[in-house]
Symmetry: C2
Subunit: 427 residues, 2 copies
């Protein structure tokens, strides 16, 4: 009986196999392990697996290393490259693989197909399979479920449980949010719902469990991210309007939001990254018409080019200039550069023939701050890393002629020698 899995989870006798030890899968594995479950984490990256088994966090994430070490000490967690073994030992398999977009913006499902293949090579009877990926609506119903049924000859919901449980954490706060965020559990039937509800209640018995259909859960995840992305785009559109009228978007947005119950405009700046930057395509690819999503994407993706044009207005031709770019991650505090607008800006500036000196305190293989500030003509503060807040004097003394501030963290008064521009304000 599938429902026996519920007791196994309760008594901490269940083994969970997490496929994918990325920014979704690793924190989840470790939190499950710290909650008393036996966890096998599977990843194809041998180096990452070794690192994780040594208790070293392979990326920046608050308290990840602390929780990882505790899980290893408890002997509740082990990473491996052997998916077959992991799947075989598991009562519950959670798929956390990525669904990136390709250069032509279609969704690349190769990791998902790989995971489905690995799962279906083992015995599925009386197991539970959860999907914690971001998926095009209908993927669970039209692809994952029929695929697993056909390959196994078993009946989903009877012989094995299946649920869509989308991840909605904030990168950098994964651990904390796994304990506290409500969990969307979209089982294909009641017993699937009950098993995965129990699994997430294991993390925190007070966790709110929200049930919907699998397609509803796929949509809910996309709506969540698209909502944020569109609001960032709107803030950026406002920044462009403010520039057009010679005003400062930052101060106007502050005035518009201040104690006003119906206004909560975010800060303008770079909007992108591995989730927000591409999740819209999972919906938008399915229409041939323009949507708010596509307009928002067009706008957010144009901001690095807009910054480059503003720099040209501020300093003249970019060819041959030395340009220091501070920040390469896609957002403050992160080391993640996937689909980062900063990377795009760097490539655009290189395309104009500038020498680009990149420093990001969190991103390996970037220059030191000293090296990045060696005789620059221009300094661009591309990301609002808190570490940059104190750098005004240092930047001013670098001898640069122009400071461009994408996030408006400084003001003209902070610079005695260099002139100052910011996104959202046309001088």
């Amino acid at each position: 009986m599938l429902s026996e899995l519920i007791g196994k989870i309760k008594s901490s006798n269940a083994t969970v196999c997490v496929l994918g030890l990325g920014r979704v899968g690793l924190p989840l594995s470790i939190v499950f392990a710290n909650s008393g479950l036996n966890v096998v984490g599977v990843d194809t990256d041998r180096e990452k697996v070794m690192k994780v088994n040594r208790g070293e966090a392979p990326f920046r994430e608050n308290r990840l290393e602390e929780y990882l070490r505790r899980a290893l000490e408890l002997k509740k967690f082990q990473a491996t490259t052997e998916s077959r073994e992991g799947v075989a030992r598991a009562d519950i398999i959670v798929v956390t693989v990525g669904t990136p977009t390709s250069a032509q913006y279609y969704v690349d499902y190769s990791q998902l197909h790989g995971a489905l293949e690995e799962i279906s090579e083992g015995e599925l009877l009386m197991k539970a399979i959860g999907f914690r990926c971001t998926l095009t609506p209908g993927t669970i119903n039209n692809l994952a479920t029929p695929y697993l049924e056909e390959k196994s000859g078993l009946k989903a919901g009877v012989d094995f449980a299946l649920a869509m449980c989308p991840e909605r954490i904030l990168e950098g706060h994964a651990i904390e949010e796994l304990y506290n965020l409500p969990e969307i559990v979209a089982g294909i039937n009641d017993v699937s719902n009950a098993i995965f509800a129990e699994l997430f209640k294991k993390i925190n018995p007070k966790k709110t469990i929200l049930h919907t259909t699998p397609t509803g859960a796929e949509l809910a995840k996309l709506f969540t991210n698209i909502y944020r992305y569109v609001n960032f785009a709107l803030a950026n559109e406002f920044a462009i309007w403010a520039e057009m009228y010679g005003e400062d978007a930052h101060s106007i947005i502050k005035v518009a939001n201040y104690d006003y119950p119906r206004c909560n405009i975010p800060k303008p700046g770079f909007a992108g990254g591995p989730c927000l930057g591409k999740d819209g395509f999972l919906l938008d690819n399915n229409t041939t018409f323009s949507s708010i999503i596509s307009t928002a994407w067009k706008l957010n993706e144009a901001i690095p080019q807009h910054v480059a044009e503003s720099l040209r207005r501020g300093i003249g031709q970019l060819y041959g200039k030395r340009m220091s770019v501070l920040g390469l991650a896609y957002k403050a505090g992160s080391d993640d550069t996937r689909l980062s607008p900063c990377v795009k800006l760097v490539e655009i500036l290189k395309g104009y023939g500038a020498t680009v000196l990149v420093h990001d305190p969190h991103v390996p293989n970037t220059l030191t701050l000293d090296k990045a500030l060696e005789n620059p003509d221009v300094v661009v503060i591309a990301i609002n890393h808190p570490e940059f807040n104190q750098l005004a004097k240092r930047i001013d003394e670098s001898g640069c002629k122009l400071v461009y501030d994408v996030w408006g963290i400084f003001d003209a008064a902070n610079f005695q020698k260099a002139s100052y521009m910011r996104f959202g304000r046309r001088k």
Copy 2:
């Protein structure tokens, strides 16, 4: 000295002339009067002026009549059609005229020009002029200020004060919000700021006063409304996506928002009205490119047509059908039908050859509920007036074959005889 006006306001010796007794001007006039100032309200509509002077509210607005009667009893307020007299008696003139869009979507500034003409026919020396209209950015700097200077031969900021103080109240809650909302006061110079800050502090000494430039204030007002409008459009886009995937947008949005700190998607439904429906044009008219605003507008404006198509799917050809539409105002609780999507829906249905029976408890010259529910083929609940919440049984017993619920206030289970459809869910 212009600054003497500050003392005059403090000691309640100042007279304020409010140009326009519409949904912005009348509540403002009355709140000023209840705060001890002498107020003359000017409107071209003779019937409205007589009504107001008799103590009758000319439109639906919470507690308006109560405050109006008190102002009249205190002999602090009087309405008139004589703008010249009103302007002549005033120390402070507040312009609240509308800036509607025309059928070709350009902004119709005729009311503003009328007001500027009326103001400049009188003596402006040592007066203060405030604009509480929604304006294209730059209108104060490039039109109003030079116009008044040229016509009067006086210097703005020295001989007369001038400020942009945009209205941001919620229709229906104007009185309450005039006491409590922060006030944007964008004077053209310090003394203009000081005078209008004092004027609004007269309403509530604890009121937050936010200063910015006149163009900044024009933008802040537009940003506020556009932010809401775009988020309504996004909710509507989500509703369309949900329909496309055979899911229910209402329940998915509930799941996405529930206790989730980064998601606050509004309810899908009709979005329009005299502010949100047109304010975007004040920015968007100034570019030849598509913007998020224009995409949002396209989407929100298409919803009535989408409802008509859904009705055709649900009931077959609309020609010759009797269609009851409940709700004509642009939003719940309102009697305002300007740019209402309900009006658009009614016209679309008529265009298809249906007989349309309209009932709105708040809108004069609509049918009674009884008349509107006489043998309908279809009942459309177009607006979520609270009065409609109890009508399920009554609608079901009307003999209609189909109920279409734009706001998802009912569910299929509420109707025994009629079939049920809602916006955001494809059956």
